[in-house]
């Protein structure tokens, strides 16, 4: 039960990008296309799972005072592993991610999970936390790049959606201002729905509260009609 909770919280409720607002640089930089977003998401997920695992295994041996440099070296090692694997098997993806592949090291999500979760919790929990957070990151990247790629380039995963669509696309969405615009609008939409459900919950509570009060009065024999 608790493992399922650790896994699922990263997907929506504590989504690292859209709720916790961590790791914004790669989020805005690589979401010009869905294929880039998927590549970046899985690379970061791999690093996150490995670093969470290793840190939770070694947490007894890491002195508290110098834990941050140790975390960074562990993360940097796994990023190097990803970089070398990508250079060997996916050179095109590596070229399009550019320096942002190396910048996974300073992605606040990974260091944040190491500090806030893996350093304190057990091995299995930490691994599932890494999987959930990594998939949440990938999901958010895919959502943002979905809008940006279709609106900006008229393609999905590099495949044109319709003939002549490219005449009507707005190039601004794959350029830098469009990144800010898309993420801002997605955050605002999420805030709108959250506000609405909060308001409904509040109204519901008030109604219930009123009914409970009325019933209490009825039971105590006080005439509420008057």
């Amino acid at each position: 039960m608790s493992i399922a909770k650790e896994f699922s919280k990263g997907l929506i409720r504590e989504n690292p990008v859209l709720v916790l607002l961590l790791g914004l640089c790669p989020t805005l930089a690589v979401t010009t296309g869905v294929s880039n977003a998927v590549g970046m998401g899985f690379a970061a997920t791999f690093v996150l799972i490995c670093s969470n695992l290793l840190i939770s295994i070694c947490k007894k041996g890491i002195p508290k005072e110098i834990r941050i440099p140790i975390f960074i070296v562990i993360i940097a090692t796994f990023v190097t592993v990803v970089k070398l694997i990508m250079a060997a098997y996916f050179p095109a993806l590596k070229a399009s991610l550019g320096i942002f592949l190396a910048l996974i090291v300073v992605n606040c999500i990974i260091l944040g999970r190491a500090e806030a979760f893996a350093f304190k919790r057990g091995i299995v929990e930490s691994m599932f936390d890494g999987v959930g957070m990594g998939l949440g990151f990938t999901l958010a990247l895919c959502l943002i790049s979905f809008f940006r790629e279709i609106l900006g380039g008229g393609t999905f995963y590099g495949i044109p959606l319709a003939d002549g669509l490219s005449d009507y696309t707005q190039k601004i969405f794959i350029l830098s201002p469009g990144g800010f615009l898309t993420v801002g609008l997605i955050l605002a939409t999420a805030a709108y729905f959250k506000n609405r459900s909060d308001r409904r919950l509040q109204i519901h509570k008030n109604l219930n509260h009123g009914r409970v009060e009325r019933e209490k009065k009825l039971l105590s024999g006080v005439d509420v009609v008057k």
Partner: protein
């Protein structure tokens, strides 16, 4: 390889305006949104970033070009697997070093910059600037001194561009605090919208070079 005056100017103007680290390359967004609530804090953060970026650029290029690519050490191919680890270590220890020195030498400056310094280690702009031109400067056409000098310039002007962006953003956000904003837009969404408008404005410099 020697830069001409035009190339120096293009480097400077490009890093500050057309390829601004924050607004067109998406480097260093965490402090851009996190430390831009008031102008003094933004300026303090900017100055600390300029300093660390310049130092980190010079030191990492010295290590990369002078040690990893040194003819007698090239057979170990250290530049392929040690660059990320060594660069991040250099940045982390530099930040720590700057913090200790500032505390001792200029306590007043430390008071203003101190709280931002630990944040700089995980600022992607610093690691980004050291990685950006690695392949270009590893070309033997650049001597060690030239590569270090140009990389240092990248750090200085990149830092100035970062400071400009974060300072302007802080000015905008100070005004936003007293503006009537729709409920759903409050907080981060409106900050992103402001970022979008600023990126659009900086986009206007695009054809200059």
């Amino acid at each position: 390889m020697e830069f001409t005056f035009e190339q120096y100017f293009a480097l400077m103007f490009g890093l500050i305006f057309t390829q601004n680290f924050v607004l067109s390359q998406f480097l260093g967004l965490c402090p851009f949104f996190g430390v831009s609530k008031n102008r003094d804090a933004a300026l303090g953060m900017g100055c600390a970033v300029i300093f660390v970026m310049t130092m980190a650029s010079v030191v990492t290029m010295l290590i990369y070009k002078g040690l990893f690519l040194h003819p007698s050490l090239q057979k170990y191919h250290m530049e392929q697997y040690l660059d990320i680890v060594s660069f991040i270590l250099v940045i982390a220890s530099l930040v720590q070093f700057v913090e200790i020195v500032l505390k001792k030498v200029a306590p007043a400056l430390y008071q203003t910059l101190g709280i931002y310094l630990p944040l700089i280690t995980t600022n992607c702009a610093v690691l980004g600037v050291t990685q950006m031109k690695l392949t270009e400067f590893s070309n033997p056409a650049y001597s060690l001194a030239q590569a270090v000098w140009y990389q240092g310039l990248l750090g200085v002007f990149g830092g100035i561009g970062f400071t400009l962006a974060i300072y302007l953003m802080a000015g905008v956000r100070e005004r936003l605090q007293s503006a009537p904003i729709p409920e759903s837009m409050k907080g981060m969404p409106i900050a992103f919208m402001a970022g979008c408008c600023m990126a659009l404005a900086f986009f206007g410099f695009q054809g200059f070079i």
